[in-house]
């Protein structure tokens, strides 16, 4: 039978004018009979589960109204009002909404503080005798995790987890229904669902998606459509009949509990009740086998029948002194770079090990996991031998992580199993006994079997385990790899769980390790390896992964493989003959080919071309041509800058052969961004173009005082002073500078910058106005010619 929730509470309180005294939840204290009557109206039309008027009754939210101290009183009053309205068989759900703040690092709320706030509300609700703990309208998965952890710590009541999705099918912080299921089901939710924001029609595809992703019952509470305001009043467009039309479709999509959110009334609930009265929950599709991991916004499957997943191993400071030293100074740049690079290279999961000697690993792990989750969207494997370090990572990770790892070590394994259960994490079983390394497949199977049984006694399920066959070095035991491969096969036969292993150990002590690793990787994949812990940036590993994905049928007809293969091919550069070296050099400058420009410059010099010839007939010619293209809109600023880079590279090459003084100098320019203006990119662009066109540039920097510019003009005696201003607010400083320069010097003043125009330049009496860097070079050359 399909169960029915009650409809909107807040909308009804608003209609009665008691929603803002000072908050909707306080109506249960101030107007208990009115609240009871709202519930009763829903009971009368057939609601099976009432939702207490406690949506915003967590101390964090109540604090906004100065009511945090009344948390217990408000929650108990909410439960009492619902209980008074309920007849026999009607159940009560303690309703819990968002805290109103986002958890760090998305916002400023501490995770522990969120847990404590929810715990206080849940304690009051459970104490008052609710039948369910119902989280609804939650927009961030991490906040839902905090709530569920709090609920599990306080009571054994069934937990309903309803997130709010937008029209794109994601929560505001990026979670889709399938990912929500991957995280919340193992975390301990009893029912998963969605409410608010969208109407039933928009929620229908999301219910279908959820039904394919969870074995749990699904609850749905749509709005009565999207609201609009008319004459100061809020209206919801969907009629009870329309709601009744969609209700059976939601059941057919997989929903087992229906209700209504904003804008729904007893008439809507009545229509839903009648529409699904004779319906039963549908038989749902069986989920794939394997282990599912998830980040906040993405979930992946590992195991037989799923593509190989690479677990990136490089975020591990053990044996990497530079990374460890950087982490010690509080700098996470190297760690972040490894995360980005590995994901870019195809890592589906990132292993995170923070074993930095002398650092407090617990704090570090929590911090790094939080930071990396803001950067990449793959699930994490939390790697440590210390249970408290594992816990810090699991707590901070807004997803379902893999614990790396548990072995048969008494006193530790119990804690690790408990952590996996508490945080809904998957766990990697390492068949290491107290007696050392088990050599045979039989021994490894026995230890793994023992650990799995213990994990299951701690509450873990089949889809929580991954297995490591142990990789030993072939150089010290020639049979070790065979035993590993055999263990992989036997794992498949005996347990059927996904497998993983760090395979590079195999080649330790031998030359050509990459080749050995690649060959072993291929053999391991054939023996049932699903998710190697590996360096995904290694070219051979990447190639092997792409090839085996084709051969194992995960890349249909090799489409991806072919695409990547073509993309990786490079076209060799054409050879340059003696006759056209200057022309080729001009072309290299225009094309921004730095290495080629340097090479051709040296070639031209060796062939007897003078520096003046090389500069005039190749380098400046190339820059002039690209300048013309820029002026005509055929090319763009970054290409001009690339050409300047090639020019610089050519000049640098030339300087290795001749004295700098022998290079032709067109003239001297003093450059500055005016007082008050902190922009210097535009000025730097002009400087780079001028200096690479043969000018001697003295750059005074940004935010430069008029007196400093004058002093430089008097000292350097430049042909031109170039002034730059990027904002309207600093044009005054430019005018002041020009006035001062013209009083004391006769130098030519050129101005430019985003907000300047020819008219304004004339108005402030500048000699020249350059609309862009290319024009600045042209004008500077003209000044010199005159």
């Amino acid at each position: 039978m399909i169960k029915i929730f009650e409809g909107a509470m807040g909308t009804s309180l608003q209609v009665m004018g008691i929603a803002d005294q000072p908050c909707p939840e306080y109506a249960s204290v101030k107007y208990p009979d009115e609240v009871m009557n709202i519930h009763k109206a829903y009971v009368d039309v057939g609601a099976d589960i009432l939702e207490c008027n406690t949506f915003g009754a967590n101390p964090l939210k109540l604090a906004q109204f100065g009511l945090a101290d009344a948390t217990e009183k408000i929650n108990i009053a909410g439960v009492t009002a619902a209980r008074r309205a309920a007849k026999k068989g009607v159940e009560i759900a303690g309703n819990i909404g968002p805290s109103g703040r986002l958890i760090a690092p998305l916002g400023d709320l501490n995770f522990d503080e969120a847990c404590e706030s929810y715990a206080r509300q849940i304690k009051a609700l459970a104490g008052a005798g609710v039948d369910y703990i119902l989280f609804e309208t939650i927009i961030d998965l991490q906040e839902m995790r905090a709530g569920v952890l709090a609920a599990k710590a306080i009571c054994n009541l069934p937990i309903i987890c309803q997130l709010t999705y937008d029209a794109m099918g994601r929560t505001v912080t990026g979670t889709d229904p399938s990912t929500a299921a991957a995280v919340l089901e193992p975390l301990g939710a009893s029912i998963i669902g969605m409410n608010c924001s969208l109407g039933p029609e928009q929620l229908l595809p999301l219910v279908k998606e959820l039904a394919l992703s969870t074995t749990l019952p699904i609850s749905v509470q749509p709005n009565a459509g999207l609201p609009f305001i008319k004459g100061g009043k809020t209206y919801f467009p969907l009629t009870p009949e329309e709601m009744g039309y969609w209700a059976p479709k939601l059941v057919e999509a997989g929903a087992t509990i229906l209700g209504g959110c904003c804008g729904t009334t007893p008439a809507h609930i009545k229509a839903i009740r009648e529409a699904v009265n004779k319906m039963n929950p549908i038989a749902r599709t069986i989920l794939p086998t394997g282990v599912r991991l998830a980040s906040r916004s993405k979930s992946i499957w590992l195991g037989k029948g799923h593509p190989t997943v690479l677990i990136g191993e490089r975020i591990n400071p053990s044996g990497r002194k530079a990374m460890a030293a950087e982490i010690k100074t509080g700098n996470l740049t190297a760690v972040k770079r490894e995360a980005l690079v590995q994901v870019e290279a195809g890592a589906g999961v990132l292993d995170i090990n923070m074993g930095v000697p002398g650092m407090e690993q617990k704090k570090l792990m929590g911090h790094v996991v939080g930071e990396l989750a803001m950067l990449v969207n793959v699930p994490f494997s939390i790697d440590s031998v210390e249970p408290e370090v594992l816990e810090a990572g699991l707590r901070a990770f807004a997803g379902r992580a893999l614990i790396n790892s548990v072995s048969d070590k008494a006193g530790v394994k119990e804690k690790v199993f408990a952590l996996a259960k508490k945080y809904g994490a998957a766990i990697l079983v390492l068949p290491l006994g107290e007696k050392g390394l088990p050599k045979t497949t039989g021994e490894r199977i026995a230890i793994a079997g023992k650990l799995i049984a213990e994990g299951k006694r701690a509450g873990l399920k089949d889809n929580d385990f991954m297995l490591d066959p142990l990789v030993l070095t072939v150089a010290s035991d020639g049979q070790a790899p065979s035993e590993t491969l055999n263990t992989l096969r036997e794992y498949g036969n005996v347990f059927g769980y996904p497998t993983t292993m760090g395979l590079s150990n195999v080649s330790f002590g031998l030359p050509g390790r990459e080749d050995i690793n690649a060959a072993f990787y291929a053999l391991a994949l054939a023996s049932g390896l699903n998710a190697p812990i590996i360096n995904p940036c290694n070219a051979k590993i990447r190639m092997m992964t792409e090839v085996t994905n084709v051969l194992l049928g995960f890349d249909n007809q090799g489409v991806n493989y072919s695409k990547n293969y073509v993309a990786a091919k490079t076209i060799p550069a054409a050879a340059v003959t003696d006759e056209d070296v200057l022309g080729a050099l001009a072309g290299a400058v225009m094309g921004g080919e730095k290495e080629r420009a340097a090479h051709l410059t040296l070639q031209a010099f060796a062939e007897g071309h003078s520096p003046r010839e090389i500069t005039a007939e190749a380098l400046v010619k190339g820059m002039n041509l690209i300048g013309d293209d820029f002026g005509a809109g055929r090319t763009f600023l970054p290409q001009v800058m690339l050409a300047a880079e090639a020019m610089k590279s050519a000049f640098d090459a030339l300087k290795t052969k001749i004295n700098v003084e022998d290079l032709p100098c067109l003239g001297k320019v003093v450059l500055a961004t005016v007082k008050g203006d902190v922009h210097d990119l535009g000025k730097n662009i002009v400087g780079a173009l001028l200096s690479n066109s043969g000018f001697n540039v003295v750059d005074l920097g940004k935010d430069v005082d008029p007196d400093v510019i004058l002093a430089a003009a008097e000292k350097e005696k430049p042909d031109i002073v170039g002034l730059c201003a990027l904002m309207t607010t600093t044009l005054g400083a430019m005018e002041e500078t020009i006035k001062l320069l013209q009083q004391k010097t006769t130098t030519t003043i050129m101005v430019g910058g985003a907000v300047l125009t020819q008219e304004y330049a004339r108005e402030i009496k500048a000699d020249l106005y350059a609309a862009d860097g290319v024009q600045a070079v042209k004008l500077a050359k003209k000044v010199i010619e005159q």
Partner: protein, 225 residues
């Protein structure tokens, strides 16, 4: 329900930097002959160096007087028109921090001009993405109340003078995300923005925004030539 005047912090997740917008901010248009590897590198550097933060505050708005929170009287005709029909507004600020700027300068000084230029452009794309993420979050939050958000409108846009930054910055609580205002009314870190959005009832007017409405016709980032 959001409390008027309350400072709200939100640090959006950015899993990538928009390459197309990066190229546009670098003034590249639809250029075809440019090494994509440099664009990728610039985006990666900004991914590493960004420290994204946003802050927002809800205020009452008197549409007839053009007055925000009884404190700030709007003089820009464009903004008055943009907010027409709003009873509340949100003032917001977003930043990517100053590390991106240091990186851009570093590469420029090393002679990698194009990379320096593109890092600057990618940082601009990042701060815009951050502000868009904040607006998306706010849209989702207010839609249930029958309220939609107008597009963002920032000081310096159209006829809303940059000088007004001085009055808007404190109302947007820029200090809460580590942003400061210089004497010349510039935000530091430089890759920061302030903006206002109006809260309007669903089915209200559809205000026009975008390059077509802007008075700065020579802007290199202009989408409509």
């Amino acid at each position: 329900m959001t409390t008027v005047g309350q400072i709200n912090l939100f640090n959006p997740i950015l899993n990538n930097i928009d390459r197309t917008e990066t190229k546009r901010y670098a003034g590249m248009g639809r250029s075809i002959h440019f090494p994509e590897a440099i664009v990728s590198e610039a985006c990666s550097i900004v991914m590493l160096e960004k420290h994204i933060k946003t802050v927002w505050t809800l205020y009452e708005y008197d549409c007839t007087l053009g007055c925000i929170s009884g404190d700030y009287k709007i003089v820009s005709k464009g903004l008055l028109k943009h907010l027409n029909g709003s009873k509340q507004v949100i003032l917001m600020a977003a930043t990517v921090g100053d590390s991106v700027e240091i990186a851009s300068k570093k590469y420029f000084e090393q002679g990698e001009y194009a990379l320096g230029l593109l890092i600057d452009a990618a940082a601009t794309a990042a701060v815009e993405q951050a502000a868009n993420a904040l607006c998306a979050m706010l849209t989702a939050q207010f839609i249930n109340q029958g309220i939609t958000l107008t597009a963002r409108f920032s000081p310096g846009y159209g006829d809303w003078s940059l000088e007004e930054q001085e009055k808007i910055a404190p109302l947007a609580h820029i200090n809460a995300i580590g942003v400061n205002l210089t004497n010349a009314k510039m935000l530091i870190p430089r890759k920061s923005i302030t903006a206002v959005v109006g809260l309007q009832t669903v089915g209200g007017k559809d205000s026009k925004t975008g390059c077509g409405q802007c008075t700065q016709k020579d802007c290199i980032m202009r989408r409509i030539k």
